[in-house]
Symmetry: C2
Amino acid sequence: MKRVIPPVKGTRDFYPEQMALRTWLYGMMRQVSESFGYQEYEAPILESLELYAAKSGEELVKEQAYVFTDRGGDAITLRPELTPSLARMVAQRQKELVFPLRWWSFGPFWRYERPQKGRTREFFQWNVDMIGVNSPEADAEIVAVLVSFFRQVGLRPEQVLVMVNNRRLMDARFDAFEIPPTMRPAVSTWIDRREKMEPKEWLAYGREIGLSERQLGQIGEMLEDRELWRRSEELIRFFAATQAMGIGDYVRFEPSIVRGLLYYTGTVIEAWEVGGEIKRAILGGGRYDNLLADVGGEPLPGVGFAMGDVVITLILEKYGLLPQNLNVYPARILVTVFDQDHLLESFKLADELRSAGLKVACYPEAAKLPRQFRYADRMGMQAVLVLGPDEMANGTVTVKDLRQGAQVQVARREAAAFLKEMLARRA
Amino acid sequence: MKRVIPPVKGTRDFYPEQMALRTWLYGMMRQVSESFGYQEYEAPILESLELYAAKSGEELVKEQAYVFTDRGGDAITLRPELTPSLARMVAQRQKELVFPLRWWSFGPFWRYERPQKGRTREFFQWNVDMIGVNSPEADAEIVAVLVSFFRQVGLRPEQVLVMVNNRRLMDARFDAFEIPPTMRPAVSTWIDRREKMEPKEWLAYGREIGLSERQLGQIGEMLEDRELWRRSEELIRFFAATQAMGIGDYVRFEPSIVRGLLYYTGTVIEAWEVGGEIKRAILGGGRYDNLLADVGGEPLPGVGFAMGDVVITLILEKYGLLPQNLNVYPARILVTVFDQDHLLESFKLADELRSAGLKVACYPEAAKLPRQFRYADRMGMQAVLVLGPDEMANGTVTVKDLRQGAQVQVARREAAAFLKEMLARRA
């Protein structure tokens, strides 16, 4: 057997079944985003390396991003995330745009990581951002958007939760614990690893990065303190707003949430499956108040989140929430070709039905009728039409209902109305 | 003034206005594709260089494709076209798929060319293909799909035409003119340049590639022969089918159409603006009967076309056919925030209206009311709601109609119904 040229590792082929699912997800995201008044936008897929150099974090740019030199010698990056592009686009038109600006997007991204369950190298991401406002209520709205999405697809708070923390609150604690700012990135990474390591191993790692026994104890205690948020005016207002919007049951304070990306400045969020086996965050986000200035704009505050398509699909699958009636087979009607002499009449008939607003496939060559019927069956069709010499003589078409097996002759000029009525009965 | 980090040359930013246009185009493509029963699919954006090496043509791969080595050392290509990916995907599941297979797609592609009017380096392309059938009627159906698109967006045959030729017909002529197969790629390129060169210069170029005076004369005569298609059984059936489908007025035989890509084997098509100043093809396509075998599959015939988004947008713009009512501003209603004390009640009200199915933005912080009204105006809103101490006391909301300037108080529990009725009147 010959070898078929393989796809690139970490990419996915979207056959019609997978594409219909992606289109459904995209449609859900659109519906939820628009219900809150967010406008759809999209950035280029290629960006300059310079755009990410400032803020995306060492690991993302140096280890994971696809970076290459183009034919003109420029250092190009396949975008690993959208927020820097958003900042660039807003900075470019800062004078003309209307703030508060609410934008959303859904598109492809790349990170060179080891492909595994829940992780591909080429993935799609839903991004939702609000720029120009620095209120805890804006943070809460962003969370309301994603909770609306969870509700829309049927996920309940027993299944998924939004975990919330605040960078400024953490910094105040780190001040109190006398942890110098230079140590804090390492401390954040260390906290982030807690769930993934054995307790002893984790403490040893903490000592390694220079934490004292006192600091280890203080941080350990802090991470267990469910009431810590009451020390943050921002979080008090944030949680009050989530209550007002009726999404409190999906939202929880979690002091161990520290987002890896350098640009977050205030509230940070992650969504996780509750106690499940899917050990990857569903989404991450938070407040970034310096990002516009970093790409050359005037300072403007922002808040947003990004959700990949891979983990959420695993979760929907696990809970049986993937939709059953995806639009995989658009046409419900097949016009068959009786023989070569009737081929063009069949094409004409299909055209008449399309002009009447029906979605119709015509068999594209003369072939044995049983083969054409089998094709209709495998393509999920509901009705098959035959136009042979008898039908031509009578000005009729034969309609076979593939669900019920019944077969009737219908006047050709009434065929469209007949089929519409038949499909409407099924819908 | 600080410098904003610039975008990559040849890419485009899709601000909400541009994104709404792209979404509209995509929607038109979906509607037309589905009306013929085509299923949507999508290939990865990264493919191996090997996939293109076989058939995409020297210029495309060696001069225009974005090729780079990834962190694992593999030669990766940013796809410059979709057909090789389609062939790979079909070859991978050749045993399971149902033929004739009708697939369509819309996504991003890259070619490193000099950006100019009608050409970007990052562009979007609509691809429509039928695989598994080798009939001239299948070729005609593919053309019917694109003519349906032209009609759908309002383009008439006085504005755009589909030009048709056939590779086998050309080869028969080249046989008759005693032009050896090895010379034919150069001859095709030469024919393709005819419109772009002065006649004398063009003839000199023909001599340069080795054509004799007799051959120059024969080819020149052939290119003027509008009846040449009658020598091709395929084209006779093709044109009869376009007549049957009522699209004959959009279709014309044109012997100078030779597609550059090596994989076409039969009928080839291009669409052009009629006598206009837009000197780039709107789309190109044709029959390719060897492509599956080239990527490692069993031989299967195919036919399809690809249309970029840039040239068609220029043409729609030129003829005033871009839609006026794009979905740029999804929310039609703004809930204002009277003051900090009423912020959460406004969030609650917005949530109530959304639950009733309305698209509603809430101002995300306490700000002066005139500023919030100005915001609503600039965001194309139709109604602004106020919820202050009076409204709270009465259980009402104040609704201001931004089009008519009128202002009324409505019971809060009836606000959703009132707004729906108001928006329906406008639609």
